[in-house]
């Protein structure tokens, strides 16, 4: 790891000040991606700003909406009774990320700010039509995720909360890579106030995306069989050592069917 300066601000205001004062700083949430990246010399920030003491953790039950602090860990989301009562699909998404020790450190805010194209939360939040709250504004998940490892976040912006309204029904199914366990393809199917939404992770060259064809077919007939008639194009999907774009396109349909069946 290249030298860096570690900071642990005691409030969000202090964190924002440190971010403004250190041009080449990185925010450190759970560190389960940033630290390995720094160890591999793929990132070398002059400063890291640890948000663990900035008061951004916790889950609050708003009846039909749940608010999740950005520094809430995957293990806390997985075990939350409030989330189980409102959006149980998020318990299952969080319990499938990484492994138990990683889930004790990794956070929802860190995961979505990194926007790894194979991460689970981006598909979950886009599928659930979640709102992402920052120190400056509130964004729809659709607007927040902005291509591979890219988000709408500005330089002086920190994710503070994620808000999810209770869906009518929802399920997330992924095909994990046998070695890394990251999603080769993960599909969230949800019926929300804004209709049927289908969000796909692991497959797109530009990260998470919604599939209009699947959404239209499932809006007309919400059944696994409805997926059969939908064309999922390999264009724009990832090809790498693990799978071709064609294989991923096939997996999108299989995962979508399984998600519908699990709804």
């Amino acid at each position: 790891m290249y030298p860096t300066k570690y900071h642990r601000p005691a409030s969000l205001a202090e964190a924002l000040q440190l971010l403004a004062d250190n041009e080449d700083a990185k925010l450190l949430a759970g560190g389960q991606t940033l630290l390995p990246t720094m160890k591999q010399h793929l990132a070398a920030p002059e400063a890291v700003i640890d948000l663990s003491a900035s008061g951004l953790s916790g889950i609050s039950n708003g009846g039909t909406m749940v608010t999740i602090g950005a520094m809430t860990t995957h293990a806390e989301v997985a075990a939350s009774a409030d989330i189980a009562a409102i959006v149980p699909v998020l318990n299952s998404v969080a319990s499938g990320i990484g492994d138990p020790a990683v889930r004790h450190r990794g956070t929802i805010g860190g995961s979505i700010s990194n926007n790894d194209p194979s991460a689970d939360y981006p598909a979950a939040l886009v599928g659930l039509d979640a709102r992402i709250v920052t120190n400056k504004r509130e964004l729809a998940a659709d607007e927040f995720f902005d291509g591979m490892f890219a988000t709408a976040l500005e330089e002086d912006e920190i994710v503070t909360q994620v808000r999810v309204v209770q869906p009518k029904r929802a399920a997330y199914v992924k095909f994990p890579n046998p070695a890394s366990r990251y999603a080769m393809v993960g599909v969230m199917v949800a019926e929300t106030a804004s209709g049927i939404r289908v969000a796909v992770t692991g497959a797109g060259e530009d990260g998470v995306f919604r599939h209009e064809g699947l959404e239209a077919a499932l809006s007309a007939d919400f059944s696994p069989g409805a997926v059969d008639g939908v064309e999922v194009e390999a264009d724009g999907l990832l090809t790498d050592m693990h799978a071709t774009a064609e294989y991923r396109a096939h997996l999108v349909k299989v995962m979508a069917k399984r998600a519908v069946a699990a709804c």
């Binding site: 790891m1 290249y2 030298p3 860096t4 300066k5 570690y6 642990r8 450190l28 560190g31 389960q32 630290l35 390995p36 720094m38 160890k39 890291v48 640890d50 663990s52 293990a75 075990a79 990484g98 492994d99 138990p100 020790a101 990683v102 004790h104 450190r105 366990r181």
Partner: protein, 156 residues
């Protein structure tokens, strides 16, 4: 440099260390607690698992500075006169061959038993295998590790 203050296995320690120092380096190199191992150093293998504030974490993917102010238990801190039931179970069931992964297996085992107990859930053989996703053993085929954790779950 940054000042790191920790309670490790019940003992208060304080050291000035580089900001980039990992928790596992702090434990092994500063405190000479070499029971915690570095296997892959990429947070895959789990040989470095310790308990930080009561939760299993990968100490190769945590900065010592992040842990500062916290409480750490390592494999050296488990036995209290007699072996911990999890250690005894690994011994009884031949739950190791080369032993390299064992400290991490035992720390993960203790963590999972405690979590399932707190949640009032049964730690089945299937659940143990799922819970061991982040701990890799290249010798045993896991069978005796799973048996060891099952035995300890009944005794803890």
């Amino acid at each position: 440099m940054t000042e790191v203050t920790l309670t490790v296995n019940g003992k208060a320690v304080k050291r000035d260390v580089p900001d980039t120092m990992l928790l596992v380096e702090f434990l092994r190199e500063e405190l000479r607690l070499t029971g915690t191992h570095v296997g892959c150093d990429t947070s895959q293998c789990g040989a470095c698992v310790v308990h930080l504030d009561g939760k299993a974490v990968k100490s190769c993917t945590t900065l010592a500075a992040q842990a500062s102010g916290g409480t750490v238990i390592t494999i050296e801190g488990l036995a209290n006169g007699a072996l911990h039931p999890m250690q005894k179970a690994f011994n009884d069931n031949h739950g190791l061959q080369c032993g390299f992964c064992t400290p991490g297996m035992i720390m993960s085992g203790v963590d999972m038993v405690a979590r399932y107990k707190a949640a009032g859930k049964e730690l089945t053989e299937h659940a143990i295998r799922e819970e061991l996703e982040g701990n890799i053993c290249r010798c045993t085929g896991y069978h005796n590790i799973v048996k060891s954790i099952q035995q300890a779950a009944g005794e803890m």
